[in-house]
């Protein structure tokens, strides 16, 4: 019959589910009281009020499969309801649940039991990989990253040449002495390995700031972002991250500084286990340079009012909330908060791989609440410390006609750098 999976296919999916069932996951699946506190927490539901877009509604899809295959009642009396069998309709519901969740974990902040819906969605994503239904664009990007790691020696010289060609843009912001590289690459005795992204915008401003601070740094060969984490493929995610771990270890750096990218930072900071180096977000590094008086910033260069969007993976999920605010107060007299903010901030709506997947219509509809929040701030500029958020905020700005400017925090800092001897306003 159409829509029914074969016994072998169902058994394979059940086995995948079982592999994810550790103690914490069983707690998440068993303890939900259906109190509904998380309902209003999710930006998707707040923007598109349908039960399937609540945190509990999403998790319920996975719970119903759990009850069917791992609980007595579901195994022996599935007709009692509240269960789902593996079939086409179930897999469609699993997909909708998993890929309408950005993994922002705002729901978890409010849940009295601390249920992590993003983790529950990890089961959904594992099932989709098992059923060959994961978003192919995300797998493709993860595979590209792994192949890049394997073939890096073949393209190293071309990359080094491209960095040389880019040095002029860095020197235009912050000159370096003759014979010194403005974008050090494969530098011996570097203290910091800076890991950027696709795009020179993720290199130029950061390079100028580190040069201004007199940092001993070197640029990574790899992009920081890890698309395998969006797919939910933990094996591939490890291989993508291993490229950077091996590079940092080979170069003997003390710190790996991660570009403005929330996903990349969260994975490298929290998921790779103890290493010989520390992992810092680039905003932490900028904040340190300001506190140690290693860079000076001119407030007069940013006359517009500016607000800050806390990226979920940097703020709520990593605790980096005061650093960007200290930086903003060093470059602006007109910083205004979004409300709510910090760990309560609304997700931009572009996380979980949605920006790479396209999904423009869903991203715009599911983030109406974010657009409203930005508008209410009255700020002329919204700045953030995450590439993915920047892309989504730019799309929201255009779609909702907000008339704001979207800026990376590092770019604002680079524009405010004061050269030795220059007059400036603190």
């Amino acid at each position: 019959m159409e829509g029914i999976l074969s016994p072998a296919e169902s058994a394979a999916l059940k086995e995948l589910f079982e592999k994810k069932l550790n103690g914490v996951m069983r707690m998440y699946l068993d303890t939900c009281a259906r109190c509904g506190i998380c309902v209003e927490s999710c930006h998707v539901y707040a923007s598109m009020p349908e039960v399937k877009y609540t945190a509990v509604g999403r998790a319920e899809v996975v719970r119903k499969i759990f009850r069917r295959y791992f609980r007595m009642q579901g195994r022996f009396a599935p007709w009692l309801g509240e269960v789902l069998e593996f079939d086409e309709a179930t897999l469609n519901a699993v997909y909708d649940a998993a890929f309408s969740c950005t993994g922002c974990r705002r729901c978890m902040v409010h849940c009295p039991f601390g249920i992590d819906t993003q983790q529950v969605m990890a089961i959904a994503k594992a099932l989709l990989i098992g059923a060959d239904r994961e978003p192919k664009v995300l797998s493709m990007l993860a595979d590209m990253s792994i192949a890049k790691g394997e073939g890096i020696e073949e393209t190293r010289a071309d990359y080094a040449q491209a960095l040389k060609n880019l040095e002029g843009e860095v020197k235009a912001i912050w000159p370096v002495p003759e014979g010194t590289s403005a974008i050090p690459y494969e530098a011996k005795e570097a203290d910091v390995l800076y890991v950027a992204l696709a795009g020179s915008h993720s290199i130029v401003s950061a390079a100028a700031i580190m040069n201004a601070a007199g940092e001993k740094w070197t640029l990574s060969s790899f992009e920081a972002v890890n698309f395998a984490t969006f797919v939910g493929d933990s094996g591939k995610a490890k291989r993508v991250a291993q490229r950077i771990i091996d590079e940092a270890t080979r170069l003997g750096v003390k710190e790996v500084a991660v570009v403005e990218c929330g996903t990349a930072f969260r994975y490298l900071r929290h998921m790779i286990g103890p290493q010989k180096f520390r992992v810092v977000a680039f905003v932490e590094l900028i904040d340190r340079y300001i506190r140690e008086d290693r860079i000076r910033l001119d407030k007069s260069r940013l006359p517009e009012s500016v607000t800050y969007h806390d990226p979920c993976q940097i703020a709520r999920n990593s605790g980096i909330m005061e650093e960007p605010r200290r930086i903003l107060r060093a470059i602006s007299d007109r910083f205004v908060e979004l409300r709510p903010n910090r760990e309560e901030n609304w997700c931009c709506g572009g996380g979980g791989g949605l920006v790479a997947m396209g999904e423009l219509d869903f991203r715009m509809k599911s983030s109406r609440v974010k657009a409203d929040q930005l508008k209410a701030s009255g700020a002329q500029i919204v700045t953030t410390a995450c590439e993915n958020c920047h892309s989504q905020l730019s799309d929201l700005n255009e779609h909702y006609g907000l008339g704001m400017r979207v800026e990376f925090l590092s770019h604002l800092v680079a524009k405010a750098l004061v050269l030795p001897g220059e007059r400036f306003r603190r």
Partner: protein, 79 residues
């Protein structure tokens, strides 16, 4: 340095992550098998990203060229 008959020029200058690779994966299937497209970019990482992407998708980067402020990548559709 060969001259290619390119079917299309794709301007990816200034795109944010991961759009260069997302876009080439959407655009290359639109030309015929054996055809070559020219990609213009400003992203140093593309010099490693495009060959890696081509390897995983069974296509080919036939050449890359560089000048200050511009990178050109010639990608041949093989599949």
């Amino acid at each position: 340095m060969a001259d290619y008959e390119t079917k299309k020029t794709l301007d990816y200058k200034g795109l944010k992550c991961p759009m260069p690779i997302v876009k080439i994966s959407q655009e290359l299937p639109k030309v015929g098998i054996g055809d070559i497209v020219e990609v213009l970019t400003t992203d140093p990482g593309s010099l490693s990203d495009f060959p890696a992407w081509a390897k995983t998708t069974g296509n080919q980067v036939v050449e890359t060229r560089q000048e200050p402020g511009l990178i050109k990548i010639y990608v041949k559709r093989l599949k």
